[in-house]
Symmetry: C2
Subunit: 531 residues, 2 copies
Amino acid sequence: MTKEEVRGATEEEQQAQSKKALKKQQKEAEKAAKKAEKQAKLAAEQQSTEEDDFAKDRYGVLAMVQSQQKLDRTLVRVQDLTPEKADQLIWLRARVHTSRAKGKQCFLVLRQQQFNVQALVAVGDRASKQMVKFAANITKESIVDVEALVRKVEQKIESCSQQDVELHIERIFVISQAEPRLPLQLEDAVRADGEGEEEGRATVNQDTRLDNRVIDLRTTTSQAIFRLQSGVCQLFRDTLTKKGFVEIQTPKIISAASEGGANVFTVSYFKTSAYLAQSPQLYKQMCICADFDKVFCVGPVFRAEDSNTHRHLTEFVGLDIEMAFNYHYHEVIDSITDTMVQIFKGLRDNFQTEIQTVNKQFPSEPFKFLEPTLRLEFTEAVAMLREAGVEMGDEDDLSTPNEKLLGRLVKEKYDTDFYVLDKYPLAVRPFYTMPDPSNPKYSNSYDMFMRGEEILSGAQRIHDAQLLTERALHHQIDLEKIKAYIDSFRYGAPPHGGGGIGLERVCMLYLGLHNVRQTSMFPRDPKRLTP
Amino acid sequence: MTKEEVRGATEEEQQAQSKKALKKQQKEAEKAAKKAEKQAKLAAEQQSTEEDDFAKDRYGVLAMVQSQQKLDRTLVRVQDLTPEKADQLIWLRARVHTSRAKGKQCFLVLRQQQFNVQALVAVGDRASKQMVKFAANITKESIVDVEALVRKVEQKIESCSQQDVELHIERIFVISQAEPRLPLQLEDAVRADGEGEEEGRATVNQDTRLDNRVIDLRTTTSQAIFRLQSGVCQLFRDTLTKKGFVEIQTPKIISAASEGGANVFTVSYFKTSAYLAQSPQLYKQMCICADFDKVFCVGPVFRAEDSNTHRHLTEFVGLDIEMAFNYHYHEVIDSITDTMVQIFKGLRDNFQTEIQTVNKQFPSEPFKFLEPTLRLEFTEAVAMLREAGVEMGDEDDLSTPNEKLLGRLVKEKYDTDFYVLDKYPLAVRPFYTMPDPSNPKYSNSYDMFMRGEEILSGAQRIHDAQLLTERALHHQIDLEKIKAYIDSFRYGAPPHGGGGIGLERVCMLYLGLHNVRQTSMFPRDPKRLTP
């Protein structure tokens, strides 16, 4: 093979890349070159002053951490910087939240998640003029390693989480440099609506936040929201595990759009096509038929609904429950409402800091709930709404505004933000819902509400293959497509029921937020697929 | 509007259903009719004998439980049927595992999950001849409510989990009838390979099992496997939560096939198309850049790989970890291996019954592991393999047979079923893998193995946008498509690493099973999308 031929492969590969891509890449390369140039300049500057800088080994930009060495150094956490650490020399890694030169000093705020501390580099026997200048020029959001003396302060530092100490920096090294222009400022992103309006201070709109989610997630509010969300999942699972539930994993790629076929995403599956599960409904029921007795699962559910509202996502996290019961589906309601109450209590007792952090930016009333949970019947709700002037038929579903209104009426009358609405009209529920034995117009089904918005939909399910077939036919569902599902009930099935909870909605409503995108890390809606 | 027009809508709807579907539905209807007829016959038979049956109110087929009433009745669990309950009259709900008439008696085995108990209906003052006949005719897998006297037995009942007592049935009611022909027999489904071969006893092949998963999941083996799997998830999360990790939820629908573009499922997304995430890789890294410091997630991952092997699924559950570290990625390896060790210990200490149940059908050696976990370098592994006669280049990846062989060599030499292989050749790893600082042919990456099969792949990731861009270009990845990802590292990013664990593989290999479909409730592979 000639040299040309060998090189030919490379050329072909290059040709395979489109011109447009090539252009982009050139642009990237230029950008990188610029950055390199800038760094070189910085290094040169440092070099030029090094000769007369006694502190030259005490600061600088370090080479990228590539695991060159195992350093035996303890890094202290910002939240652990308390007066007990006074006069200790410690190492710390943190982000530069702000830096500000002031004469021969440079004041920094160093941040770790929701915690921050004031730090200081001052010209003296541990720091040179050049070192102070270096510190002042570190870009916001860069990550630094500092060695510093912890000093107790006379007057509390109100602007920091660590109010009783400050750090006197003796060494400072940049671990990772942030680009100088941030797409959004963290202090703007945590500003409450209307706050600082007279001073002309900015807030950040939702698209900018979501487009730059990696930075938006660094705010104290975001950190609090998603730590609380992690808590909701844990409380959900721990409560159910204690009650004897088993966690299951259900497939998300399914062969047939089971729940009627509307609003389902299609997936190319080798030579055929498949769908994304709109819920684990059928699988958790199959687990009940397979003797798992009580099951739960936590996982993504997909809805191809072109709804651009504050509470709809095309992908969200479902907290799903299904259980066999003995004689009455209220056993299921009791299990679910108790689980919700345990979640509310756990949040109230263990996440007060997070709740208050979020409240600073988004004020809301504390979430109220009753024990045992209030349960109303659908007909009672209709009566309450009619009394409030709403016109609706007995078998009409609740509209979103009516749900909200009902939430306010219930709050006024019962002083609770959480309640169950039981016995929905059969006509507005899925085909697998068990009809009410005493009134065929109604059903053994329920929704649960937080602050007037639905967070769970559930029911006693039909566990008899014959009745299930009848109801599917009534709903004009192609029996062939749900054969595996119906067959699950042919070999003995216990009476059972359950429900599915939307994680993002629970977090949004518990915290009194107004958009479900605030409680989804990387939300998906008809118009947003990135980041 | 005329009457005809009103009815026209219904006719149109009917026409919308294809002839084929209609035919199916007629067939279904006929089937249902047959069943109804049969039930009527049964009822009639009962009716005809009722007049002269003093026990006629003590047995029968109950109406479907539709939550007609709240019955104040305690149902005892089979596992709680011990000699302490002797001479108590109790109520119980269970499946009829077997029933066998013998003269004036009928012996039943009643089952709840992995527990079962012997029960007896005998002609006497609490049961009539007709009642015994009724009990004998209840189809296997039907669910019954029984009232029975608990009796201590002289001789242990070896065939049941509750060996010290039996039930003397005084009332028996069918709650849910199983169809008489089961697609598979539970006793066949738990038979060990080769067992009972001489007697011509059947075992059940995998496709039959999976096609009838609802019944296959009722076996003691399946019950044990999936309870253990639930345990793995819980141990994984609890260990990491204790270590300060935060649980995150990452999107499964993504706008660009990030990891090179191969083996990815395409989704129709409104007017555009999207992809199913092959891993939460990019998102968990973005969380690290967003200061969550240490994160984990449990969720489905999707691989459009046309691999029909014992260990590949197109959808499986990923247990993912990502964490910032201080100076060396071995901090990450230590966190992950300790998590695995905590899982192994938790299973060993809390799931011994499940392990032994599975071992009965699928014998295997107990799983061995070391503390601390063994860590070998890739070059050491190559040397071991070469010594064993394998020919391979320094930068070749390990083939599956070589991984298996290496597993055996490591087991012989170090007596462990779990180890880490560190420092893979850079060429065989994804573009975002950090190169080894001391040898550019290698990388800061690792795999973990259980019984010679890979269960985790991980690495230190590149946290510098510039180097990441270079490596992506080297891999000829379209930069435009991973812009959001690369941009995440522009505003300060800590050094970090992690890995992704396949849940089904961990369960399979821990239990010494031979097919990953045994540890996936509803497995998905290129040829299987149902149930």
